[in-house]
Amino acid sequence: MPIHTDRQFEEELNELRQRILEMGGLVEKQIADAVRALTSRDRTLAEATIRKDHTVNRYDVEIDELCLRLLALRQPAARDLRFITTALKITTDLERIGDRAVSIGERALELAGEPELKPFVDVPRMAEISSRMLHRSLDAFVHEDTDLALDVCRSDDEVDKLNAQIFRELLACMVEDPQTIGRAMRVLFVSKYLERIADHATNIAEMVIFMVKGKSIRHIEELPPSV
């Protein structure tokens, strides 16, 4: 694609792209740290993860400001307009993912003070898939790769299945021994947070498809085979 005649505008768009990637990197690490704090019962790491939310929030505000400035001063059209409005939405999703990571950190803190329920198997697996979805959705954003974006949307089912499976296992646990209810509920929340993170990653992927193709695949029953 040819670059803008106005180089300054081109640089500002690059800056926006770069800031989103940085924010995405921070949030990915936040998820990984929160889940590691949970599985290794590491309070210090859990607290550090919760504190990092400020940085993510600051990115959210700054990227919003950058987008507003570009909209007001450059009056972008067509793909530039779609790029900037997509960036606005992506930061919202990233910021919410950060909040979910904080919630995982909080549950990790609570659970660290109680006896272990049972070793974590599916939760780290779910975290890995969700985090990978996020990573790939941002790759798709940077490379304007709609096939990759569509692939991210498809992965969401896998996460939903794991979430349902974790629910069933924890339910069995709680039925068997009501003493576990408090802990099992917290793990269940974590599972729900991870499922939400995958949903946010799916939102990002859907927005990428809109950004590149100018058509929306959101809120439809079945994913198209290609876009």
Binding site: I3, A77, A78
Partner: protein
């Protein structure tokens, strides 16, 4: 008009008022329009955008045949305004230009009174009755949103008006002969933003009664005022679609490069 109503209007193309078919236009050996076919819907605003020299001015001037005032012009194809064959053998140019009015880049009122400017066309077409002229002048000045500002000074010279008022007077002059189509060639390029906003507001009002075709270098203006936008490049019509589509998701890469400022 609400965005929804506007989108709905644009979605259902009205009857074409101007029909251009396979129009090729050359000045000497230089072809400036190449095989253009397009329909400009009735009572809608059609904007034509494109870089300098793309042929957009020639295109609108071909509709009332003022492009051929220079010599050595060759024209192929057809243009219809309603049922009138613009390049037909017995077309009356005076009548054609009554039906297809035009407003130019620079306000060009005649060095006469405001009244005489607005009365000029009707007089040319044989209206002599003072009361009728007065009624026409008032109607056209009202339609051009100028009446309230000049009603007390109709005998003052048109040249005493501000640039924006002069341009509205030129629009009134065009409207006085009750045209069907109004062509506007960069009507705001010599005006400040407030005068521009008034003309744009006026365009919105005028499309209830007239079919408007506007050429503009200001893409935001095309986006603001038009229902449909045509992008021209090197004498070709590259893309012609609903304005909201052209500015959010154009089909052609050349259009996209132009409206996002990635051109050349």
């Amino acid at each position: 008009m609400s965005p929804e109503a506007r989108a709905r209007d644009a979605a259902v193309p009205a009857e074409p008022k101007v029909r251009i078919r396979n129009l090729t236009y050359a000045y000497g050996a230089k072809e400036v329009l190449h095989d253009i076919s397009m329909d400009m819907p009735e009572r809608q605003v059609t904007a034509i955008i494109g870089p300098s020299g793309c042929g957009k001015s020639t295109l609108i001037k071909s509709i009332n045949r003022i492009a051929e005032v220079v010599s050595d012009v060759s024209i192929q194809g057809t243009v219809h305004v309603g049922d009138l064959d613009v390049y037909g053998p017995d077309v009356d140019l005076v009548e054609l230009r009554r039906r297809v009015g035009m407003v130019f880049q620079k306000p060009n009122p005649f060095p006469k009174s405001i009244f005489e400017n607005a009365a000029f066309g009707p007089r040319l077409h044989g209206v002599t009755d003072r009361h009728r002229l007065r009624a026409i002048v008032e109607r056209s000045l009202r339609q051009a949103a100028l009446w309230d500002e000049v009603r007390e000074q109709l005998d003052a010279s048109a040249l005493e008006l501000s640039g924006g008022q002069q341009q509205r007077l030129c629009i009134a002059r065009a409207l006085a002969v009750e045209p069907e189509v109004v062509l506007m060639d960069e009507p705001c390029s010599a005006l400040d933003p407030i005068a521009t906003a008034r003309i744009e507001e006026l365009i919105h009002e005028l499309k209830a009664d007239y079919t408007i075709v506007i050429v503009t270098h200001n893409m935001q203006q095309a986006a603001r005022v038009s229902d449909r936008t045509a992008f021209m490049y090197l004498g070709r019509l590259v893309e012609f679609d609903r304005t909201d589509t052209v500015f959010t998701n154009p089909a052609c890469k050349e259009t996209e490069d132009y409206i996002t400022g990635r051109f050349g």
